[in-house]
Symmetry: C2
Subunit: 200 residues, 2 copies
């Protein structure tokens, strides 16, 4: 998605430890007009799929998922990262290891909001090692719902998550796949870039 | 907002401890078509205000804020609840006590996304004791931005938060103010209800 890649080149900041900061438009401050375009693009890519529910994970996936849902006209469910007293005990749950924080946490979805008959599109802002997405897939499988696929805004193609999920047969659509990035030069190369067009 | 009140009467579940569960459409599963209508209503109520930024707090405020932003055509910033390594040290921060969880946590907003020149509308799903909203107001004041007001989807009018904020002079617009609710009968009375119309 060219609009997104341009925005990443313009406003993304490469930090040490393979961190790409896109918090000026994606996951702290959020450009919701861009999210609408992202929603249209996912709708185009999953036009043949009968999606009737979008599943994401708190926190930064929620805003994108809600605007993607406007293109699909389906409800959004977000998996919660810790058990609160407002959630009944009747939940699907699995454990996820956070790439950003390094710790393991539980994710939960109330059973009443996911189950047989649901055709689920997963939406998230980032895909790196794929642990969050694997957790969401485990919840979908546990619930008996059908996994349609996963829509990711930015995939770090140099990490293992995306290709591992593709090998598993997950229909994965990433709008920008970063093949490499260089903290010193600020150069970002996208997977489907033509030779040399990946410069800032 | 009558559409919202009808939905609360239809799908809200009253639990012990003054808990109103609206997680089938508001804060776990999210009816984004309803959120669009909520956005239009906030736009109507704040039509005279020159809002140029929406501030909310993770997690359940984000989806609503993003669809409200579609009515205002402004970016959304969400306050994060714990410090992650992806946030630079240059942040506004304050402490908030959670009504739901009972614990105290830090909320942070990166300084680059809030400051002088910003005319900020706060958006959140719930207002009960008002601690989260007070925390957001503290961040706005610390940043030098201008607080335009706060838009709340559901206010628990029988708790102290809303009226305390109104006494402080905060322009507070709550789309449904619950005056009382009864776990046994399921009866919910809204503040501006006519006599007897508050029954389920």
């Amino acid at each position: 998605m060219e609009l997104l890649k341009e925005r990443i080149r313009k406003d993304g900041k490469i930090k040490s430890g393979d961190v790409l900061k896109v918090d000026s438009f994606l996951n702290h401050q959020m450009d919701t007009d861009l999210f609408v375009e992202i929603g249209k693009e996912f709708k185009r890519r999953f036009a043949d799929a009968e999606v009737n529910k979008i599943l994401t994970i708190e926190a930064s996936g929620i805003g994108i998922a809600c605007l993607v849902a406007q293109s699909f006209h389906v409800p959004v469910v977000f998996a919660k990262k810790t058990q609160t007293k407002n959630i009944a005990g009747d939940v699907y749950t699995t454990k996820v290891q956070s790439y950003t924080h390094g710790r393991i946490y539980d994710i939960i979805v109330a059973k009443e909001f996911l189950g047989k008959g649901d055709k689920v599109l997963l939406i998230d802002d980032f895909l790196a090692n794929g642990k969050a997405l694997e957790g969401l897939i485990a919840l979908v499988e546990e619930s008996g719902a059908e996994l349609v696929g996963a829509g990711i805004v930015i995939e770090k193609g140099f990490q293992v998550g995306g290709d591992a999920l593709r090998k598993r047969g997950v229909r994965l659509e990433s709008l920008a796949i970063i093949e490499s990035m260089d903290e010193e030069t600020g150069r970002i190369v996208f997977r489907d870039d033509e030779e040399g067009s990946g410069t800032v």
